[in-house]
Amino acid sequence: MLWKVLLLLGLSSAWAQKLCSPGASDGYKVRLSINSALGDQAYVWNENEMFLFRATLAFAMRTYSDGQEYDVANVVVCDETPRVSFWFVVTSPLDASLLVDKRRVEEAVRKSRSRINSAFLLTDDTLEFIGIPPTLEAPVAPDTPPWLIAFGVVMGGVGAGIVVLLVSSVVQKIRKKRDGEEETGGKTENEAASDAIYNMSFSDDEPVTQM
């Protein structure tokens, strides 16, 4: 009896291995770059980590696929290399000889990519599913572009400055006219001033030289 059970187990695992092969039509290649991602804090890739991978993938299939109860045994892995890369296929929980369609696997992986990444402390670049491009994050577009706000601030300040300076020169001109009228003779407009810059805010009578 025992040898029959063993035979069945051996056959099923051999059968499973046949399903998974490099370049399988319903399989995907996975590549991890743990050292470049984590540097000194890199963990060693071993059987336990592989178990976690298979469990995570089973979780992804459970949650985002047809809702069937996928198990760790349904995720078959083969062709492991020291690079840390391998191929995997997913078998149906109902029939171990049937492979789950490629697109369903892809959909599940896509939707749970961030969960898978964080399980291994990796990112889209360092945990690659060859053939499944990562979905790009939609950019956060603020309502008003930040540069317009900065522009408003700058123009506001500059505009206020111009208005202040113009008003102060007009005020000085009025003051000077008043003083000029009080003086007798008013011979300020002589030839000597004709070549000077006609800067009304800067004249002979101005007591406060605005320098």
């Binding site: 470049s36 939609a138 540069w147 900065a150 113009l166 030839e191 605005q210």
Partner: protein, 633 residues
């Protein structure tokens, strides 16, 4: 040497030494005065030190033999730059007038030189302030993290990055597409880009605010605009030296290659750089100097300004190249790591077998087997050469808006460095603009076109009209127009003006009289060095540069570089020849100011021949007025 052009009635047109003493003592001062010597020096330093020190000199230095470039630069600084500077300072201080007033006093036929200066000031001011508008745009966009030029935007259906950005780089895309929205050639105008119009308005408004009352207002602003660049450069130097690869950059910059000294274009570029770096011939320096007290030591000022300008160029070059060294090293590391990853993936090797250190020998090992070399050929590994990355075309707007911005995105706390960098560029450019505006506004006042209008209004009109004409630079093809103006509006006319200035002072005004004036002003005659420079050597150098430049331009078909996403070699910039109608514009830009000099002389000759009576009347007028000296009409 008694070679002097006959110049009767010169004394009637200029204030005599006694008049000057009188003007000194009687503190009435119809003319503006500097608040303090510091304001004057800072304004001159700000005018001379500009964007060219930061983005032209480092490139010239690196491409003409590094440390060896210092030799022609310093030689030409001494023989060309300082004498011209001293001349402009002295003549302005002596004749107490802006550019137009000075030249019309020296001889009425030479008024054209002043007009040419004013025209060049106007054209140069227009396009220079557009560069400041671009700087303003980048500055305004620096207040966000991550910086907008650090990543490519997504396309419309969010499936991939925008193709134009993917094929070039995020910084290129942000510059050519999101800032300029550049068209593919100068013929396609592309319409006004509203964000550019806003930035242009902002730049001109800031300039108007600072120049509203002439040196009264600019004299205060220069305390910030002339000193802030040095502070920022120092901060960048310290930050840069702590980055990896910065020393590589400095070594690359200063490694001398003495063979470059035999190359005539090295000397030509050095001469041109010295000349344009001092903003000579634009009229601003004469004007600034005319507000000085009569006995101000202009010789000392000229030497100080020249030294500061030279030092700033070298300092800025060092800072720029620490950052460029950092960027090049980063690019090299990225390139190498990409190759390493490709090798690891292709051969399924354990991570860490191929590193930066053993890359070459591992590559050889893998290449040694037949199957291995086949695989490697299929991989298409890129060659990573640090020198290529270091000599990446890094001058002009490309340096500031593409290379440097990219380097900033790789530094931690990027928005801070971006804000600092663009504030520095803005200050450098703004202080140069002060001189340009001064050159135009004072010329208008000297011509008495609007005699009763206050300075605020004239400055306003100048700024507004420049802004309206400069809207051409906010078109889709604006970048190409700006390159056109940059190459032709400022280059040839300035050389001609400088040559005429030196000849005018040495031979029309009279070098003997000039020497006596300087002795009156600063107490001693200029020594034999200055005599030799003013009379012979400096004009000769300027003439040689002009001739070589002119012949070069005339003999070659003029081309320009364009950004064309549909061209074959994209992202390499496409070189196109100018269409025919652009040649007319080039002739106008370069010819109008240059021809103003002989043109106005001719006009004066005709006027003299036809209207002899009116001149006699004016002579009576000039005798009666004591300070009125500019009635040359």
């Amino acid at each position: 040497m008694r070679l002097v052009f006959p110049n009767p009635r010169l004394e009637d047109r200029i204030p005599s030494h006694e008049d000057l003493e009188l003007m000194e003592k009687v503190e009435t001062g119809d003319r503006l005065k500097w608040g303090s010597k510091t304001q004057y020096l800072l304004t001159c330093v700000g005018f001379c030190v500009g964007l060219g020190n930061v983005w032209r000199f480092p490139y010239l230095c690196q491409s003409h033999g590094g440390g060896a470039f210092m030799i022609p630069f310093i030689i030409l600084l001494v023989f060309e730059g300082v004498p011209l500077l001293y001349l402009e300072f002295a003549i302005g201080q002596r004749l107490r007038s802006g550019s137009v007033g000075v030249w019309s006093s020296i001889h009425p036929y030479m008024t054209g030189v002043g007009i040419a200066s004013m025209t060049v000031s106007f054209f140069v001011g227009m396009y220079y302030n557009t560069i400041l508008a671009w700087v303003m745009w980048y500055f305004l966009n620096s207040f966000q993290s991550p910086l907008p030029w650090s990543q490519c935007p997504l396309n419309d259906n969010l499936t991939d990055l925008v193709s134009e950005c993917k094929r070039s780089s995020p910084v290129d895309y942000f510059w050519y597409r999101e800032t300029l929205n550049t068209s593919t050639s100068i013929e396609e105008s592309g319409g006004l880009q509203w964000w550019m119009v806003l930035c242009l308005a902002a730049a001109w408004s800031v300039l108007y605010l600072c120049c509203i009352r002439g040196i009264e207002t600019t004299g205060k602003v220069v305390y910030i605009t002339s000193t802030l660049p040095y502070v920022v450069l120092t901060i960048f130097l310290i930050r840069g030296l702590t980055l990896k690869g910065s020393v590589e950059g400095i070594k690359f910059l200063f490694t001398p290659d003495l063979n470059e000294l035999l190359n005539p274009s090295t000397w030509l570029d050095a001469g041109a750089q010295v000349f344009y770096s001092f903003s000579l011939g634009v009229g601003g320096l004469i004007s600034f100097s005319s507000y000085n007290p009569v006995h101000n030591n202009c010789e000392q000022d000229a030497i100080i300004i020249a030294i500061i300008n030279g030092f700033t160029s070298i300092f800025a070059a060092t800072v720029i190249y620490t950052i460029i060294g950092f960027r090049a090293t980063k690019q090299f590391d990225d390139c190498l790591n990409e190759n390493i990853l490709m090798l690891l993936n292709a051969f399924d090797l354990v991570e860490g077998t191929v590193t930066e250190i053993n890359y070459d020998e591992m590559l050889q090992n893998l290449n040694s087997t037949i199957s291995g070399s086949e695989v490697i050929q299929g991989l298409d590994l890129s060659t990573c050469n640090l020198r290529t990355f270091l000599s990446d075309g890094v001058e002009g707007t490309g340096l500031a808006f593409i290379v440097f911005t990219e380097a900033i995105t790789k530094m931690p706390i990027s928005p801070l460095w971006s804000v600092l960098f663009f504030v520095m560029l803005f200050c450098l450019g703004l202080s140069t603009m002060f001189g340009a505006i001064e050159g135009v506004v004072v010329a208008i006042q000297d011509f008495k076109i609007f005699p009763t209008w206050p300075k605020e209004v004239i400055s306003g009109i100048v700024c507004l009209s420049s802004f309206l004409i400069a809207l051409i630079f906010s078109l889709g093809s604006g970048n190409y127009w700006l390159a056109l103006f940059d190459s032709y509006a400022g280059s040839i006319p300035l050389l001609i003006i400088a040559f005429c200035e030196m000849v005018g002072v040495a031979y029309v005004y009279g070098i003997e009289r000039f020497n006596k004036d300087i002795e009156f002003m600063i107490g001693h005659k200029p020594n034999i060095f200055w005599q030799a420079m003013w009379r012979v050597i400096s004009p000769l150098i300027v003439l040689v540069i002009f001739l070589i430049y002119f012949v070069n331009e005339v003999s070659s078909t003029l081309t320009y570089i364009t950004w064309n996403p549909s061209s074959e070699n994209f992202p390499v910039l496409e070189i196109l020849p100018y269409p025919n109608w652009v040649y007319i514009i080039i002739l106008l830009l370069a010819g109008l100011p240059s021809l103003a000099i002989p043109g106005f002389a001719l006009y004066k000759v005709l006027q003299k021949c036809c209207c002899k009576k009116t001149i006699k009347k004016l002579e009576l007028n000039t005798v009666s007025a004591n300070v009125n000296m500019y009635d040359t009409k």
